[in-house]
């Protein structure tokens, strides 16, 4: 048995005080009696002429000494040392990601992790310090290093699991920074191991203790959701959902598609263990709304059983082609469905009604406010310097970029091109040896695709890749598609909304109906909404805007709730889960309980004596 607060034994100095109470005489009620002769005979022992009397065997004294000794012992906080070696600084990393809401532990993994962390707090010695870090989508220091157990307890108890994917990397980085120069530190991670790659901590020498929570991985989840136009029938919408079964048993469940609150379709799916099944729904849509896919399955994690996506009615793209009779370009643009094409020979400022402006070999006097697809334009606000380059050979193109989907430059020759240094706002998509030929990027809130050569000075218009590139570029530049995709975000990510008029007041209605106001600075043109830790449909009310956006988990890593036995930190470094890790068992509560019983007994005994 050891003591967490051995200094409390100084309180034992109170023991002689109790004894001195018994040495001192009591204050007594004065009573006149006929004669004290009988009392003298009977109670000669209580006669006291000196201030101190002889200490007699008095049960009350023994009881009080016992009581005080118990209290002192309790204050000294004895404990039976567990396997845990005390360190001076302990960092508690509490994983609050979505998978920690699994109910395979009672009542949930997160609450079990909290309980274990609280035990660690209880076992903290007076001179030790502890730091509480809560990690979910964002990492938050809930309590700076302190030995104050009340603060630590409150910090741990105030944490709540979120519907967001885990970002353990940030938390480990933080913990690593704090403990870097301290050999007397220990990092305690309370998690189920559902987080991304932490390979970069391979050689950091982290003194990491992994407290695993979770027992099994019984979970069915929607891990992907997207909405597109139905390619076969343009008036309809196709909803692509990916349903995965992470449990070890085959699962039959009902998959349901809702539009706002009305059920559109329900179907039964059978999922083999570990299987992921794509499901495609087709639904017609007459107004903007929210499609929700939910799976009715009895599993441990409810967060990922539902996912929503905002679907806006498709709007025609208004495109202005500024060209001097480039027929190839005009044909390619007209071939794109849902495009309203206007044509002009000169660009005049103030035409704000277009979504995309295509500039072909024309340098505008003012840059358009819309998205721009520019061919052979050397504007000074785009590049620091330009020069000419003859017969550039295409050496590389990024076919992973959405612009180059199904696009190949295998057989394209270019007679002449502009030679530029790649500016910081753009990334090269197609490159020659000396310069980038196609750049894509975002400049002053508008998307820009820049092609450095005149297509008529190349063989590209004769290739099939040209119209595909034009179609890809219009889709990529279309601000409404971007707007629609921005309306569905992952848990924990901020939601951005660009506003045309500055707003002074904004409100968020959360999925459970609670409202909160946003703090806005004056003249702000873009609203950023944080705190999206709950999945579901949010409403943002800002000025005249009423925007609906959805927050989903959609994270296969997080939905795979099978707890891991070890954390792999690189090839040679692993941290095993300390499944059973007895913390020091404190006994002061029991001692205080016994002291209380002694106190009650003493009270009873005293009254029996004097009543």
């Amino acid at each position: 048995m050891k003591f967490l607060a051995p200094y409390a034994f100084w309180f034992a100095l109170a023991l002689p005080i109790v004894i001195s109470f018994y040495l001192l005489k009591r204050k007594r009620v004065v009573t006149l009696v006929s004669s004290t002769l009988l009392w003298e005979k009977f109670l000669a022992e209580t006669q006291a002429n000196a201030p101190f009397q002889k200490l007699r065997r008095n049960w009350l004294l023994f009881l009080q000494l016992l009581l005080l000794a118990l209290v002192v012992l309790g204050l000294a906080r004895p404990y039976f040392a567990g396997a845990h070696k005390p360190h001076w600084l302990q960092v508690v990393l509490l994983d609050g990601s979505a998978s920690m809401q699994s109910t395979d532990e009672s009542p949930s993994r997160f609450e079990k992790a909290q309980r274990e962390a609280l035990q660690l707090v209880d076992a903290l010695r007076d001179e030790d310090e502890m730091l509480v870090v809560f990690t979910a989508a964002a990492t938050e220091v809930k309590q700076s290093p302190t030995g104050n157990k009340a603060l630590l307890r409150r910090a741990i108890q105030q944490c709540a699991a979120t519907d967001t994917p885990g970002r353990l990397k940030d938390a480990l980085k933080l913990a690593e920074t704090i403990t870097r120069d301290r050999s007397d530190s220990e990092i305690h991670l309370f998690s189920d191991g559902a987080f991304g790659d932490v390979q970069e901590f391979a050689n950091k020498g982290l003194n990491l203790k992994f407290h695993r929570v979770g027992q099994r991985g019984n979970n069915v989840a929607i891990v992907g959701l997207d909405i597109r136009e139905n390619p076969e029938q343009r008036q309809q919408r196709a909803i692509y959902a990916s349903v995965a079964n992470f449990s070890s048993n085959s699962v039959q469940a009902e998959l349901q598609l809702r539009f706002d609150t009305s059920v559109v379709e329900a179907r039964a799916v059978t999922l083999a263990p570990g299987q992921s099944v794509p499901q495609i729904f087709v639904a017609s849509q007459t107004r903007d709304g929210v499609f929700t896919v939910s799976i009715a399955a009895k599993d441990d994690l409810a967060v990922d059983n539902e996912a929503s996506v905002v679907s806006l009615l498709p709007e025609p793209v208004r495109v202005l082609l500024v060209t001097r009779n480039n027929r190839f370009l005009e044909k390619a643009l007209r071939a794109i469905p849902n495009v309203v094409l206007s044509q002009a020979e000169e660009w005049r400022a103030g035409s704000a009604e277009f979504d995309v402006v295509v500039l072909d070999n024309v340098t505008p006097p003012a840059w358009p406010a819309a998205s721009v697809l520019a061919f052979h334009v050397a504007a000074t606000n785009l590049f620091a310097s330009t020069s000419r380059l003859e017969f550039p050979a295409i050496v590389d193109w990024k076919n992973t970029h959405p612009l180059l989907r199904y696009v190949s430059f295998d057989n394209v020759q270019i007679a002449e091109s502009l030679r530029v240094t790649t500016p910081p706002w753009a990334q090269p998509v197609v490159e020659a040896q000396q310069t980038a030929l196609v750049l894509a990027g975002e400049l002053a809130r508008r998307k820009v695709v820049w092609v450095g050569f005149d297509v008529l000075q190349s063989t590209w218009p004769l290739r099939v890749s040209f119209p595909i590139f034009i179609a890809n570029a219009i889709e990529w530049l279309n601000p409404s598609i971007e707007r629609a995709s921005a309306l569905t975000i992952r848990g924990g990510e901020p939601f951005h909304l660009a506003v045309t008029e500055p707003v002074t007041r904004a409100k968020i209605v959360e999925p459970d109906g609670t409202r909160r106001s946003l703090n806005l600075e004056a003249g702000v043109r873009e609203l950023v909404v944080g705190g999206t830790t709950r999945h579901g449909t949010y409403h943002l009310l800002a000025g005249t805007n009423d925007v609906t956006f959805c927050v989903n988990l959609l994270d296969a890593l997080e939905s795979n709730t099978r707890p891991v036995d070890e954390i792999v930190l690189g090839k040679y470094s692993r941290v095993k889960a300390a499944a059973l890790r007895p913390a020091s068992m404190e006994m002061w509560r029991w001692i205080v309980a016994i002291a209380l019983a002694v106190l009650l007994f003493e009270w009873w005994f005293y009254h029996r004596r004097t009543a």
Binding site: S35, L37, L43, A48
Partner: protein
């Protein structure tokens, strides 16, 4: 007839007589048997005639038979002095009813019985009244009147004087009894009524009376509070007579032990009395006096 004793009780007491184990030694004629020869109807003895004897007491029949002169002797009947020692100290005023009330009733009964038997009653209330300045006047004369009472006719005055007695001050039990024993010219019956709660004890006084030749009877009067205390807690007890302080922590659970102490104290007194031929009775002041007078005192052979 009296506030102390009801007339009915007095009438019943008239039938009683103090029992004296010894013959009366008084010089005054009375109604008690004595060793002295004198005038009565009870024949006692003969003796030879000596010149100067009264011819009236010669036994002429014997002279006729034996031709010698004998004188017939008769028993002299003498009075029996009855001394009552009444404890009138401060401690006797305690109790409900006060011990002193009961003690006076007992003294009145004993005195009345004695007076009815034509005995001389001498009553000594102690402590001396001179110790109490406040009540010195009438109290002193009352006590002087009680010092010597004789004859049945005096009983009314005796009872009235007794009623007026008050208690107070600290008594010296032993000294009072010793002095009375040494001062007494004629020994007789001594009845001591007290609580016997004198810090100096009672041995010396009672021994003095016994050794002087008194037939001593002891009646101990205790208050119910002394036998069965009802005050509990941390107490500082102050002796009403001596002013001595006694600190006591007393609870109900120690009551039994206290009662044992009281019982032991009384037993000691009883044993002391028995060893010296003193009759002993004890009364708690809340018990009916009549019962005690007619039953217990008769049983303890004070009267019959």
């Amino acid at each position: 007839m009296s506030a102390l004793l009801s007339s009915d009780l007095l009438r019943r007491l008239e039938q009683l007589q103090l029992l004296a184990a010894r013959r009366a030694k008084s010089t005054v004629r009375g109604e008690r048997q004595s060793r002295a020869r004198g005038q009565s109807v009870e024949f006692a003895d003969y003796r030879n005639y000596v010149a100067g004897d009264d011819f009236r007491y010669l036994d002429w029949n014997l002279f006729g038979r034996l031709d010698r002169l004998f004188l017939k002797l008769y028993e002299e009947e003498r009075e029996l002095p009855v001394r009552i020692f009444l404890d009138a100290s401060e401690s006797m005023t305690f109790g409900t009813p006060p011990k002193f009330d009961v003690a006076r009733q007992l003294a009145a009964a004993v005195g009345y019985v004695a007076l009815c038997g034509f005995d001389r009653v001498s009553m000594t209330a102690f402590p001396d009244v001179t110790a109490r300045a406040a009540a010195a006047g009438t109290e002193a004369s009352t006590r002087a009147a009680l010092r010597q009472v004789r004859g049945r006719a005096s009983s009314v005055r005796f009872l009235r004087d007794l009623e007026q007695l008050t208690a107070g001050g600290a008594a010296d039990f032993n000294q009072t009894l010793r002095r009375s024993a040494s001062e007494a010219r004629h020994v007789g019956i001594a009845v001591v009524i007290s609580d016997f709660l004198d810090p100096a004890g009672y041995d010396a006084g009672l021994k003095a009376l016994v050794s002087r030749g008194f037939a001593v009877s002891v009646i101990q009067v205790l208050a119910p509070e002394e036998v069965d205390p009802s005050t509990f807690g941390d107490l500082r007890l102050i002796d009403s007579e001596t002013g001595a302080e006694q600190e006591v922590t007393f609870g109900k659970f120690r009551l039994k032990a206290y009662r044992r102490t009281v019982q032991r104290f009384c037993d000691e007194l009883r044993a002391f009395c028995r060893n010296r031929g003193i009759s002993f009775s004890r009364i708690v002041s809340n018990t009916p006096v009549e019962q005690f007078l007619l039953k217990e005192l008769r049983a303890s052979r004070i009267w019959g």
